[in-house]
């Protein structure tokens, strides 16, 4: 059993005093300090030794006033806090803080759905509201609105949106944020946008309010603790139509991206279109040892055998249309015509109509079965995703794909990845799946991740989000004018949070209080 980790510069006695003060705010039950409790917040999928990101404890407020009280006490006792909503940020650090010894501020108890407005299509929720909770609420109350959710839905609506996560049907969830309530690092309480007006009805209906627009400044940031969020939902559509095409060769991604880009840009396809490789399908359905026994990346011939046996493509292109049936059909026709100029392969089409079982609709139905992909390599599964942003251009994407695949092979990993097409740029995600019991494999996974960051940065591609272990390195790759963005972030950080108590190091933003910790 390891010794209790304290934050840098904080003695064990000072930490005890701080916890005693926290306990007076939240009560004994919600101040968690045992070794066992701390371990429940560690990063299961850690690249480094887990102790590099182990908290010294956790504290769980029940309401906004308790959050404010805890933040003020943290200032007084100089104890850093790491806010989480449900803390299921698996692949990016889970519930664990960037800096060891930081106390997790677990907002999971604050789990009220405060408002769902069917007429205007939004909800206002607290951080602890999970995707399961929101889904159940919409179903139970028969509200004709749909939520959007990531590939696994154990987490929270707020945490996922704040980390700028994405999912289906709506794509980038941060784009749907409309109005936040935030406890600032000095304990002050602010509402952004129209919510800054105490009698406004449009807090979650109109985004920017008056003057500087703040919502995005609190995403992927350590400028405050978000305690409420307005989020736009989509009207339950009368129908949906899904198009799916299997492409046989790795090179096919290039022309597919070029075919899709103008359709995205014109809005014919209004939701992100995905192009995913064979392993995305295979890893949730099978384990590597069924196909290949040896070390190193699976040889091409065995990959082909797996593709043929499972009846999947090298790539699978997927998109979906939601709305009136005739509109969906018309859009699908435009897409089919565009693809017919480039391939003889046909789309598989599936139409869903309101009233039919939801499973085929493309609605976000909560599920955690995606978690099993981590077990591809056997042992205790772990994975992380490397996701740089590229122009939505086929030639650039396939050139970078070749570099990425070469790195995967060089480090002995099977290539897992794909593209999510926005209107102008695409997110190129590559998943590294490893067995965390195997120290050598874990080291290779880390080396691969580092190499991928270097290659991408050299080509001018930066990541949209990353794991705790790489936050500093990715921040460095945003290097214009000798890192002017970092200087701006840190100026703001130091102004709002002079003692550096909220999430030091998150996204590579280090407060003045921890000069020695930047890697």
């Amino acid at each position: 059993m390891s010794q209790r980790q304290t934050p840098p510069g904080v003695s064990a006695a000072a930490l005890e005093r701080a916890f005693a003060a926290f306990t007076r705010v939240v009560g004994e039950q919600w101040a968690l300090r045992s070794e066992e409790d701390r371990r429940t917040y560690e990063d299961l999928y850690a690249f480094d030794a887990v102790d590099q990101h182990i908290p010294s404890g956790a504290v769980a407020p029940g309401d906004v006033e308790q959050v404010r009280a805890l933040v003020r006490l943290a200032n007084e006792h100089r104890i850093p806090l790491w806010p989480i909503s449900r803390g299921k940020n698996l692949g990016y650090g889970g519930a664990a803080p960037r800096m060891a010894g930081t106390v997790v501020l677990d907002l999971g108890r604050m789990n009220r759905i405060l408002d769902v407005n069917e007429k205007f299509g939004y909800c206002i929720v607290e951080p602890g509201v999970g995707f399961y909770d929101l889904f159940d609420h919409l179903q139970r109350e028969r509200i004709q609105l749909w939520m959007s959710a990531p590939g696994q839905t154990w987490g929270s609506v707020v945490g996922n949106a704040l980390d700028r996560g994405n999912g289906a049907p709506l794509g980038e969830h941060a784009e749907r944020i409309c109005g936040l309530e935030v406890v600032l690092p000095d304990g002050d309480l602010v509402r952004t946008g129209m919510g800054a007006m105490s009698n406004s009805d449009t807090w979650a209906a109109f985004k920017h309010g008056y003057g500087p627009s703040w919502d995005f400044a609190f995403t992927q940031s350590n400028f405050g603790v978000v305690t409420k969020m307005g989020l736009w939902l989509m009207p339950a559509p009368e129908a949906s139509l899904s198009l799916r095409m299997k492409l046989p060769r790795a090179e096919d991604a290039g022309w597919a991206i070029d075919a899709l880009r103008p359709l995205r840009l014109q809005g014919v396809i209004s939701q992100p279109a995905g192009i995913g490789n064979y392993l995305r399908d295979a890893a949730v359905r099978s384990q590597r040892q069924q196909w290949h026994q040896g070390e190193g990346a699976m040889p091409d011939a065995e990959v082909q055998r797996m593709i043929d046996t499972l009846g999947i493509g090298w790539w699978s292109v997927r998109m979906r249309f939601f709305g009136p049936e005739q509109v969906n059909a018309a859009k699908a026709r435009v897409v089919r015509d565009a693809f017919a100029k480039r391939t003889r392969i046909e789309f598989e089409e599936q139409v869903w109509r309101s009233g039919e079982p939801l499973a085929a609709s493309g609605a976000a139905i909560p599920s955690v079965s995606g978690l099993r992909l981590a077990n591809w390599m056997g042992g205790q599964g772990a994975h992380s995703t490397f996701s740089p942003v590229l122009p939505a251009d086929g030639a650039l994407a396939t050139a970078h794909l070749a570099r990425v695949r070469a790195r995967f092979s060089e480090h002995g990993f099977d290539y897992y990845g794909g593209f999510t097409l926005g209107e102008r740029a695409l997110i190129f995600t590559s998943g590294i799946i490893f067995n965390r019991d195997d120290a050598a494999m874990k080291a290779r996974a880390r080396a691969l991740f580092a190499a991928l960051i270097e290659d991408a940065a050299a080509a001018g591609y930066g990541e949209y989000r990353t794991h705790l272990s790489f936050m500093d390195r990715v921040a460095q790759s945003f290097d214009f004018n000798e890192g002017a963005l970092r200087r701006l972030n840190e100026k703001v950080k130091n102004a709002l949070d002079p003692r550096g108590i909220i999430a030091p190091g998150k996204q590579g933003i280090w407060p003045r209080a921890y000069p020695e910790t930047r890697r």
Partner: protein
Amino acid sequence: MSQRRLIMIAAAAAATLAFSQIACAEEAAAPAAADSAALYERQCGICHDAGGFGTVMLERRVGAERSVLAQRNDLPPAYVRHVVRNGLRDMPPLTRVELPDADLEAIAQYLQRARQ
């Protein structure tokens, strides 16, 4: 199980869960049997129902017959408590915030009851 049915179960679970959380908020008396089932469904069933992540992983390790947790008869409460708080291989541990001790106790007892 059909998606519909799953949705209905989930909705029912949430309704009773909301109630049981209020009941558990202070010093909890163990929830009644129906609440325990709902609690189990929400906190564990999402992975341990047929076809779930936990079930698939247990199938790989202990075989199909023993892969659905609620049908097992060899899970002493102490073991359940230990696995939930410490995790086990691919099962992540659950914190005392998302699953307070009183709720875990109710689930451990429920899994005991399930075998009788």
